[in-house]
């Protein structure tokens, strides 16, 4: 049955497979990304463009949601600070990015619509598209920590968004996915400055945004559920989304308090390896305070034993002082309390990721 369904769109499916294979080998080649790939999709769009549009309500809701998320993204810059985006901000990127998005969504739509009763085929199509959007050079050549960052900030959002776009194609028109995707790319393509976002911000907010869009379309646009089911879903989704947002904001330190997992016993017996310390941003640092400070992209939590031009620190269980010049701007906060054993998952992850480095 699976084979029979695919055979209906054998040519398009074959095209997708070829495209995915070519992408794996040439995704880092500039001639391919700036010339061959967009040109290929341009020719495909010209021959397969579908003038039929989805319902007006669906378009309107998509535009409203996308605009709200775009504005929230811009406003977040005032909280998180802004970064320059000069290197990415260029019209050539419209050619490079928008055309493949347009083409791939047409292919997804055609394949999914014709295989809508075949879940295995839908899964396979979605996986192929996910593969076609991942940069495999980053996956195979990176240091383990960078690889983890790449998976969180790029790969997981790509997977989540593609599941959403497949769902939207199944229930509506490809233009819905295109609008959402184009709004996602607008900031990178046109804005000379964009809000600061590290790998965690990118990954977590992209995932939360995807769930919100899915929830809105499923329960407010497509109306797939009964009233009872709708109420229950509303509670569950609201709880999950709000919990996730609070967790992410807490991790980012936006409530002035920030957690950190402890990897060593240098402050034993106060707190030990595997504990989680909560520290708070404070201006007035005094001797005997336990401070969290930046050092080479790491955070160290040790006790202040003296203050002169720099802050002199020492781990309670250490024999010697830290040979580090700590300036006021390096200090991230002052220890407030700790939670025992909560940091072990972080330690296991750290051991896993840094194992071969």
């Amino acid at each position: 049955m699976f084979k029979k369904k695919l055979l209906k769109n054998k040519k398009i499916f074959f095209l997708l497979v070829i495209y995915t294979i070519v992408h794996i080998f040439f995704c880092t080649n500039n001639f391919y990304t700036y010339f061959i790939n967009p040109l290929f999709w341009l020719s495909y769009i010209i021959f397969h463009y579908d003038l039929k549009l989805p319902k007006k309500k669906e378009i309107n809701i998509t535009l409203i949601i996308s605009t709200i998320f775009f504005l929230l993204y811009l406003i977040s810059g005032f909280v998180l600070s802004f970064n320059k985006n000069i290197s990415n901000c260029s019209f050539i990127n419209i050619w490079k990015v928008i055309l493949p998005i347009y083409g791939i969504e047409i292919i997804r739509y055609k394949l999914i619509k014709s295989n809508k009763n075949n879940s295995k085929a839908i899964t396979l199509i979605t996986i192929l598209i996910i593969i076609s959007e991942i940069n495999f050079k980053e996956l195979f050549l990176s240091h383990n920590i960078i690889l983890f960052h790449y998976i969180v900030s790029i790969v997981i959002p790509i997977i989540a968004q593609n599941i959403l776009f497949t769902y939207l194609s199944l229930n509506s028109h490809y233009s819905i996915s295109i609008i959402i995707r184009v709004f996602n790319e607008i900031s990178k393509l046109f804005l000379p400055i964009i809000p600061y976002s590290d790998w965690f911000i990118k990954g977590s907010f992209s995932l939360i945004k995807t769930l919100i869009i899915y929830y809105i379309f499923k329960y407010y646009v497509f109306h797939k559920k009964s009233i009872y089911d709708f109420k229950e879903s509303k509670k569950l989704y609201s709880f999950t989304i709000i919990t996730s947002i609070i967790l992410v904001l807490f991790m980012l330190g936006l409530f002035n308090y920030k957690p950190i997992a402890i990897l060593s016993n240098s402050m034993s017996p106060l707190f030990k390896r595997g504990d989680v310390v909560i520290y708070k941003k404070e201006e007035n640092i005094l001797p005997d305070d336990i401070i969290a400070f930046k050092y080479e992209n790491q955070t160290i939590i040790h006790r202040v034993i003296g203050i002169n031009e720099y802050y002199v620190t020492k781990g309670d269980a250490n024999n010697t002082i830290d040979y580090i010049k700590i300036k006021k701007e390096d200090i991230k906060g002052v220890y407030k309390f700790h939670i025992k054993y909560l940091g072990y998952p972080a330690i296991w992850l750290n051991e896993l990721v840094t194992k071969e480095n």
Binding site: F148, I260, A261, L263, N265, S266, N318, A346
Partner: protein, 166 residues
């Protein structure tokens, strides 16, 4: 369908939690020296001090040193005499170092006729590097005063710290 919904939300929450754990992991506390979890060994030390030039009638004494201090008493005879001490410092650890301070204190202040200078001390001392510098104790040539004490006793503290990376 209810089961599917629960699975979707559980997978979602698990992914967010994994990201949060990862974020916490890569901003973790670590120790650069101490009893536990040593990621690098700090071992910058003075390994030698010797008098390389001692004029006749002068006495360089027996210079001593610890890991980061030196001590010597230079006894000079007449104006123009110079005793040169050569100090060797080595980075035997696994952490690059840079000079932070070098401070000398005199046991008896105010012997103006006998002064001291030091040659330039190498600022960066990377892992495996060794450096030497000279301390030159001089009896000022054209002095009319003859000091009661012709011995200069100096203690020097040389402190290197972990090199700041750019």
């Amino acid at each position: 369908m209810r089961k599917n919904r629960i699975i979707i939300l559980m997978v979602f929450l698990a992914t967010i939690l994994l990201m949060a754990v990862g974020y916490s992991t890569f901003a973790t506390d670590f120790t650069i020296n101490g009893k536990a979890e040593i990621t690098g060994e700090w071992d910058v030390r003075i390994t030698n001090i010797e008098a390389t030039q001692v004029p006749d009638g002068c006495d360089a004494g027996t210079p001593t040193f610890t890991k980061d201090t030196i001590n010597f008493s230079a006894k000079l005879n007449k104006p123009g005499d110079e005793i040169i001490y050569e100090v060797t410092i080595q980075n035997l650890g696994t952490i690059d170092a840079e000079l932070q301070t070098i401070i000398f204190t005199e046991e008896i202040d105010g012997i103006e006729e006998i002064n001291y200078t030091t040659s330039e001390l190498k600022k960066d001392l990377n892992v495996g590097d060794s450096t030497t510098f000279n301390i030159i104790v001089t009896y000022v040539k054209n002095t009319e005063k003859v000091p009661d004490v012709k011995t200069k006793t100096l203690t020097g503290i040389i402190q290197y710290v972990q090199k700041e990376t750019a």
